[in-house]
Symmetry: C2
């Protein structure tokens, strides 16, 4: 089955002080991800998401990019009772539309870019407190931090890595081979 996703926004976390991303006009994706982004690199240090490895151990970086969907962000916003959840607040690098249940896409599947590049889905990006705090700050409601962690389960999007480099810009399409 092939799903066609539309790229609504491309974003980067290039301020070392925060994981929050900002929209950009487009990017040349490289092996390792987005140059200048805080998750860029072929390798990464193991952290709390890889408890089977000693913290700080060098491992392959399977979490180069974070992808979220318009539909799922809207669903999270509804569950939290807020108007909007912005992809920036979640540190997302790509905002797509048109993918039913993006977060449920299985690990290992390929997402082809219009430019000929390719991404590999590495599965659900489990919600953590960071984005929850940003949301709580924005709406001035501290209860939203924990609520986000709970309500964003299975809706917070996926992580991916670059299999083949290529350009990516808003308006592009991604072919997801499921």
């Amino acid at each position: 089955m092939t799903i066609i996703a539309k790229v609504e926004a491309v974003l980067i976390a290039d301020d070392p002080a925060t994981f929050v991303t900002r929209e950009i006009d487009g990017v040349e994706l490289c092996f390792g991800g987005m140059e200048g982004d805080r998750h860029f690199g072929l390798f990464a240090k193991a952290d709390s998401r890889q408890p089977m490895y000693k913290r700080g151990t060098e491992i392959m970086n399977r979490r180069q990019l974070s992808i979220v969907s318009v539909e799922e962000l809207q669903r999270i916003a509804e569950r939290l009772g807020v108007e909007i959840i912005r992809p920036e607040w979640l540190g997302a690098n790509i905002l797509v539309s048109g993918v039913p249940h993006l977060t449920r896409l299985p690990m290992g599947i390929r997402m082809m870019l219009s430019s000929g590049g390719g991404l590999i889905c590495e599965g659900e990006n489990e919600p953590c407190a960071g984005p929850g705090k940003v949301i709580a700050n924005h709406y001035g409601d501290r209860t939203l931090t924990q609520l986000f962690i709970k309500q964003a389960q299975k809706s917070r999007g996926i992580v991916a890595y670059i299999e083949r480099p290529g350009e990516l810009k808003p308006g592009d399409f991604m072919e997801i081979h499921h």
Copy 2:
């Protein structure tokens, strides 16, 4: 669910003339796989297994290692009506036992080595003519080439890449987190 696999043999394809592997005492797995093996490398050239990319394009190497199981090789042998199928003939790098339906392990799951290293399963290694020809030559029966391609479906093992380097030797155990 955790499955414990036993490493029965470690093998390398270090003769440039053939994909057939030979048993070795053990290996220090690196990022990229087994140094000296024909599939070693963080990157690889796209071939017939990645038809979405132009042949020869540089892509991430998700097929660093090939893993087969004693039980599935025995099943293929029975289906072909031959005594034995050796892991060497399939170009396998690791022979394991104790994994029910190894070939059905989904992409993306982690296999932890006793040494602390880790592999990521990249799914079924689809049977092709190469190993079929080796088997046909060994048994002096040319019909076995095509028969292998058909009968080895879902039993020919998986491919994997190294997430974290580590030693691997016969007698080790691999913890498969399913």
